[in-house]
């Protein structure tokens, strides 16, 4: 089944967010005096909510001179109440079902995304990235597999076949996606990112997390490594069963042994547990 770029963009216009976020957004926004920090924290733990906010604020409606790169950035530029109401609009679309016809576990997927985001941020911190830039790493980790949500939600039957082919033939999921859709999740994510004029660093992470040129972008290297670490530690599941080599910049900094990297990073489990509260309802 080949899908056109136009089809993908059209489908995603009404993409629902994850259940816990939707419930909490409705709960938080029913209080006129809701804490802005709680709202931002909630939004930035849901790839769909983040995508909707960034897509809107980077759209031609605003024509802002600089790309908006985070939820906080959006709050500063368009105001808390506008961000709050956009989140509420997304919440009213409905929720992503926990189980879909692809048999793809969306809770496990969200845990994979949040874990990749969390570990990417921890690695960046360890690499002495300035604190004001740490969220870029978290965001790139959170969003890297966005294309899979599109497949699972809108093309579940075909995605089920892709998942099966990847598993049975021991090939990467993106290779199986290429066979089935003639496009893979990285391309879908970056296509949407480009269409919606998201920040280039985020688009690059969406596009290149499986095909990066090492050393070209530290964010992509870190996200790619965090993706492998998350898979190795089995935090959630993204449909991918094969590990990839860690980028050289990462092994140079942390060593080749994933367990040693995890030890070096500190208390990964606690950090991931903190992220889990954004998943189960």
């Amino acid at each position: 089944m080949k899908i056109s770029q136009q089809d993908i963009v059209h489908l995603v216009e009404k993409m629902p967010a994850f259940p816990k976020t939707v419930h909490r957004v409705i709960e938080l926004t029913s209080d006129m005096n809701c804490n802005p920090k709680d709202l931002v924290e909630l939004i930035e733990h849901d790839p769909v909510m983040v995508m909707n906010i960034l897509r809107l604020v980077n759209s031609a409606y605003f024509g802002l001179a600089q790309p908006i790169t985070s939820v906080n950035h959006a709050v500063v530029y368009i105001g808390l109440n506008t961000v709050k109401n956009v989140a509420l609009s997304t919440a009213t679309i409905g929720v992503l079902p926990k189980r879909n016809e692809a048999g793809f576990d969306m809770e496990a997927f969200l845990l994979h995304s949040l874990s990749t985001a969390t570990i990417a941020r921890m690695m960046a911190k360890r690499m002495k990235v300035p604190s004001k830039d740490l969220f870029d790493y978290f965001l790139a980790g959170l969003m890297h597999d966005f294309g899979k949500i599109v497949f699972a939600n809108f093309m579940p039957h075909e995605f089920k076949i892709a998942l099966k082919i990847a598993k049975e033939n021991s090939i990467h999921l993106y290779e199986a996606e290429n066979e089935i859709f003639d496009i893979n999740h990285a391309q879908v994510g970056s296509l949407l990112g480009e269409k919606w004029q998201l920040p280039q660093s985020l688009v690059d992470s969406l596009k290149c997390h499986h095909s990066h040129k090492e050393g070209k972008s530290q964010i992509i290297d870190v996200v790619s490594a965090a993706d492998q670490i998350t898979k190795e530690l089995k935090f959630g599941y993204s449909g991918e069963n094969l590990l990839e080599a860690l980028p050289a910049i990462i092994t140079k900094q942390f060593g080749k042994d994933i367990n040693a990297i995890v030890t070096d990073l500190g208390d990964v489990n606690t950090e991931i547990d903190n992220a889990r509260i954004f998943i189960s309802s």
Partner: protein
């Protein structure tokens, strides 16, 4: 160019014995260039008396810039009499609504629907055009240039810079100075602080040295903590902005609806004592005309 205040009240029209001198109509400012071009910023209830004055200058050709679509800035629009007269040409500008995903035309026309108003927008006789503005977009309005910039309010809100006849005037619309939503010990505090500094710098550069700054000073600094996040500035924050941007004169507007004339006088006296510097400032009142 000249600027005239037709409405200086915030939130809701407040006629009555306590607001006779400063006025009870909500926001509406008229700017008339030396060439006679008319630019109107906001269509609060003050646009109704403005409309009466325009009837002496038919046919009316004017540009209406909406800072934002809260009631006190648009409620007078259905009563803008030039709408009902053929051969008038009225250009309306404002922000696209990103939440409802609707253009400014649809947002404004909703208040002329059957249940709210007896005449539908489609029945109006003047030639009316609507334009959604992007941030920093410049519109040539006759001999003037009007440029928008996003301000901070609980809805998209444009401040407008009007440049004409070698002079510059800026109106904030409703605006609350940005504040950090994080505490200093939060992880994001520094990032947020940086974002605020960046936006403030862009804004200060945008309004630097304007001849006239008209700014939202709804609250006193003492009242502000209870109103934080409501999207309005204070007398002190406006004076600080004016001093920082090196503006020549400041007009304080969007008066709190329960604040009477005497209370505004007391506040003004206090401000004059507190700020004895070179900045010229005064409290805007309905009917006040200034030569920019």
């Amino acid at each position: 160019m000249k600027a005239r205040f037709w409405g200086v009240r915030g939130s809701i029209a407040s006629p009555g014995p306590k607001t006779v001198r400063y006025g009870g109509n909500t926001t509406c400012i008229e700017i008339e260039t030396d060439a006679g071009d008319v630019i109107i910023i906001d269509a609060g209830t003050g646009i109704f008396p403005l409309a009466q004055s325009l009837l002496r200058r038919l046919p009316v050709k004017c540009s209406v810039f909406i800072t934002h679509t809260h009631w006190d800035h648009i409620q007078g629009l259905p009563f803008f009499i030039p709408f009902f007269i053929p051969k008038n040409e009225i250009s309306i500008y404002g922000a696209f609504d990103p939440v409802a995903s609707q253009p400014i035309k649809d947002i404004l026309n909703r208040q002329m629907e059957y249940c709210y108003f007896p005449v539908r927008e489609g029945e109006l006789k003047a030639e009316i055009t609507y334009t959604n503005l992007r941030e920093r977009e410049t519109i040539e309005a006759g001999s003037a240039r009007v440029t928008s910039i996003l301000m901070n309010h609980p809805v998209l809100d444009f401040g407008y810079l009007v440049e004409c006849d070698g002079k510059r005037l800026f109106f904030t619309g409703d605006n609350e100075p940005l504040y950090n939503i994080y505490s200093p010990d939060d992880d994001y505090y520094e990032e947020y602080e940086t974002l605020i500094e960046m936006k403030n710098k862009l804004f200060i550069d945008f309004v630097r040295g304007v001849d006239v700054l008209i700014a939202d000073s709804a609250y006193t600094s003492e009242e502000y903590p209870a109103k934080k996040g409501w999207g309005h500035g204070t007398f002190d924050s406006c004076i600080k902005l004016a001093e920082e941007a090196g503006v020549k004169s400041l007009y304080l507007t969007h008066h709190e609806p329960t604040r009477g004339d005497d209370a505004l006088d007391v506040i003004y006296s206090g401000l004059q004592e507190k700020y004895a510097g070179p900045l010229e400032f005064r409290i805007a009142s309905e009917g006040l005309e200034i030569e920019v």
